[in-house]
Amino acid sequence: MALTRKIFLSILFVLCLPIISWGQGGMLDKSVSLPFKNASYTQVLDFIREQTQANLIYNNRHFSERKTLRFPKKELALRQVLELVCQDAGLEFQIEGNDILLKKKVPPVLYTISGKITDKESGEELIGASVFIEGANKGAVTDQYGFYSLTLPEGRYQLTVSYLGYKTQKSSLQLTENKLHSIELILDKVELQEVVVTSDKEEIDANVKSTQMGALELNQSTVQKMPALFGESDIIKAVQLLPGVSSSTEGASGLVVRGGSNDQNLILMDNTPIYSVSHVMNLFSVFNTDILKNAQLYKGSIPSKYGGRLSSVLDVQLKDGNTKKTTVSGGIGSVSSRLTLEVPLVKNKSSMLFSARRTYLDLLVRSMPNQPFVSNTLYFYDMNFKAHYKINNRDKLTVSGYLGRDQVGWQDLFGNSWGNTAASLQWTHVFNLKLISNLTLYSTNFNNHYSINLVEPLGYLQKYDVRDFGGKYDMSYYMSPNHRLDFGFEFIHHRYAQGNMVSTEDPINIKAKQLDPVYGLEMAGYVSWEQKVSPSLSLNYGFRLSRFEHVGKGKLFIYDKDEVVSPETNEDNITDTVFYAGGDRIHAYQGIEPRLSARWLWNDHLSLKVSFNRTIQYNHRLSTANTLTPTDMWTPVNKYIKPQEADLYAIGLFGNFMGNQLESSVELYYKKMRNLIDYKPFANQLLNDHLETEILSGEGKAYGVELLVKRKMGKITGWLSYTFSNSTRQINGINNNQSYPSSFDRKHDFTSLFSFNLSKWLVFSANWVYASGVAYTFPVGKYVKDGFIVPYYTERNKYRLPPTHRLDMSVTFYRRMTPEKKNESSFSFSVYNAYAQKNPYAYVFRQKAGNPNETEAVQLYLFTVVPSFTYNFKF
């Protein structure tokens, strides 16, 4: 086999020789005059024969008699004529002496090189590292498993592997067969010098060259350098600083992406969805930055492998754990502490990671003299566990788990506790150098407990939880250098336990109540094709086919109205109840979600991208508030409550400047959302099994422009972003059915964030954010009822709160690891809202406490200056 290949290659080499020598011979420059604009192949070949006296050797079958050729000019060089002839017929030409041989093109022999890029010190797979082939001008970026695959013609190549913060590694490679080539990169401890990168490495200019738009990536070091509220750096807070993303109110941990609601974001922790990412008071999220590896936010052109949420995907990958040596790292902060342990189980093959953190806000508060918070509870803790085993070069198994809990209590009158638990098993399998797969099986749960004990014998505990068992199988097929196919499927079994209530008193006074859980099956299959059509045009097209079945055991109320979700319907319209046995299908929805994007490259530094996305979401979060609150409840769609749908159109210009040091983009989007829901005024949301009578439904629209300039390398890194946006809702039964600004609509949003590496051991960071006022409802009058002065409201969200702005700063001192100093540590001091701006999150209109005949308007704001510190260590 090898011999035949060698012979074949020698022949090919010989055949190629004349082409090389031809240029010197000058025969190709001879001009051929063409009397006609159009001519048949036979005619053209006759012209050549007559005018050059060359022998033409070809097979008649390769030419169609009926086809004609068009010439741009009456006289052309022989080279041009031959090229035209060959191009059209799929041939190539060779010249030997006086002979011109026209023959079928022989495709070059291609081989695939693929492997994993990992951190040499810890064995962690690196996501988004660039593998670049010098000369061939081809490259690839590692996927979320650190895997890359490139297909190239046989030959000798120079491979350059680079990743921000790591030393670039070059190696040469003789490609004569398919090869597994994994590379370990060394962390660059001195990452401070100005690096000017001019070559077009895939990673560096992905901003311009990928078909992806509306996607932004953050890694641990970026997040850690940002000034942190209470000293706890947080990925959700970092994401909120990106263009097109905002928090609903100051300090909240929800995400409002391109006019979408808080519930429309798919937030994944190691491929497992997390239902509620907020910790105590919305100030922290469930993601512990110590073990964060990489986070990718998709707010437009969402890849078809993701589904189930309308507006965005935040895919967070956590570290696997060090496979080379045991490390202990952690931090002590002003309100919380963290500890992470990484232990190799089998060197280079397996490790386990355990991480935990807890806030001690309550301990601090209690230790302060003369304060009114005695016997109040206010804390959270969370824990992550992860273990993986690389069975061989092709297979890797990972198990991971998360457990987090929040406790808030006020004396013994009120208590609220909520948390997520998640567990997953992942199997990454490399079928061959071109086909890799990942199987994830997971369970995720969010539960919320409420205890209220205001009136002595009526204390009760109320519980609510949502649980998913899911599985997904994702495959990536690197077909050829110009084609990549991603496909897979997903299956989720949902259980929404809509709540129960039990008495906490003895003797029992409150009647126990239990709503039956609601079950649903969600399934989806997807295909996505990445195609480089030409050097300038790349396409990514695919779709997702999704389906949701509301299944038994359960029940369905029958109404005497056609339109059940409407202002006119209430529980009196229920005429009958149908009960279904376990597994019975009650109602089903399905839909196709096209995901298309295209990129047109003008030159290496400028591209235009367009995309269209449809997304479908089969559940809703019912909330009376605009921020995430523990009383929020997820409910699946049923016969009456329809799935949310969104269409997103986007167009953007992407440019890199100053040798790729500066990335910039301008994106325009228009989003239309259908079947959004909102509670009816003063709806009865608790322990209610016919929520369809308590809600209203309508549409949403959003459009905006997002500008981003980003610098990823050098002494000063950071970004500037500006967003103009407009987001409205039109819901029948609200605001007289007229469209109104959504409750998180802000017109202008400006963020500047930078990090200045002053020296090896000192980094200064600051960010300044400005946002114009959020839409708000003001009273237009007052009236008296039962002696109370009551504000009178008309149009919803017609007015605006004042703009908000603040400056956060932090300074971090590093002590780096050296042969003498075996450990690494840093001390960071942050100031949140440095110039003590009182940023209102609400206005309250009420009667004056002292003089109930008069009214007052009061603004509420959360924090002014919040100084904090964190001490981080690693050894």
């Binding site: 601090l364 409201y793 009420r846 100084p867």
Partner: protein
């Protein structure tokens, strides 16, 4: 470690991160005045009235303008549409012409008002109220999360099989002790039980000018489900604490575009006297 903890504490004290308040003066629009109906039909003689006024600019220091209607009357829907006429006793305040009128639980009433040639109507049933059997008190010393003082308990039987809604008020020596709040009760979780509800706060002589005794009166007004929801909404607006929720007017039962509510209610009261030890 201890030093770090101390540093943390100092920083926490420095940061005023508890929700803070500040007075503001936003520019507010004003719309043309709207009629406001504050009407109660009670099961006790002399308690039924209709008050009419208009909305005013929110910042106006003037009291809301009381207005007079062309016609105000109530129809007893289940009693041959018997008409109860009202008379204006002072500007904007109407009382039944028949001073001995009282509503009867189980009946349904309709209010009719003609104001500036526009007619307004509202209809509601008058629901019975469970009888307050007794009011008791107990003295409790200071505890972990408990204030020292007299704790009041109300005792009554919740009727089984029907939903009951009520508005409760507590008077000490004739003074409503929470004039800025609406305390509502519903029996959704305790239907049919005999209830002894201890109120979650303590009464102390010192809070009421150190009298020799405190006359504690509990009053419960029955409400319909719609009225209960209206007062829930009204309570939210006057507390002004629903900072996360878009504020909205509570849903009125008056047709014709007026604000306010026509409340039909039966009342039950009980009293106890606490003497200074």
């Amino acid at each position: 470690m201890k030093a770090l903890l101390r540093l943390g504490m100092i920083m926490l004290v420095c940061s005023s991160w508890w929700a803070c308040e500040g007075l503001v003066d936003p520019e507010l629009d004003t719309v043309p005045p709207v009629l406001v109906v504050d009407a109660w039909l009670m099961n006790q003689e002399g308690d039924t009235y209709v008050k009419l006024s208009e909305t005013a600019p929110f910042n106006s220091p003037e009291p809301n303008k009381k207005v007079s209607a062309q016609t105000v009357y109530i129809l007893d829907m289940m009693n041959d549409q018997k008409r109860i006429d009202f008379t204006e006793v002072e500007q904007g305040l109407y009382q039944p012409v028949d001073g001995g009128f009282y509503g009867e639980p189980g009946q349904k009433y309709q209010l009719k008002i003609v104001y500036q040639d526009q007619s307004y109507t509202a209809a509601a049933p008058l629901l019975p109220v469970p009888k307050l059997d007794s009011v008791t008190y107990v003295y409790k010393g200071e505890g972990d999360s408990q204030q020292a003082g007299y704790y009041i308990t109300a005792h009554f039987q919740d009727p089984s099989g029907i939903r009951n809604y009520a508005w409760g008020r507590l008077f000490v020596n004739g003074e409503n002790i929470s004039p800025n709040a609406i305390d509502l009760f519903d029996d959704s979780n305790v239907d049919g039980r005999y209830l002894s509800l201890e109120l979650p706060f303590a009464l102390n002589f010192s809070d009421y000018g150190n009298p020799d005794s405190m006359k504690v009166e509990i009053e419960m007004n029955s409400l319909t489900q719609n009225a209960y929801e209206y007062y829930q909404g009204l309570g939210e607006l006057i507390r002004g604490v629903s900072t996360n929720r878009v504020p909205q007017n509570p849903v009125s039962n008056i047709h014709g575009g007026a604000l306010g509510y026509f409340t039909t209610s039966a009342v039950t009261k009980n009293t106890i006297v606490i003497r200074k030890p």
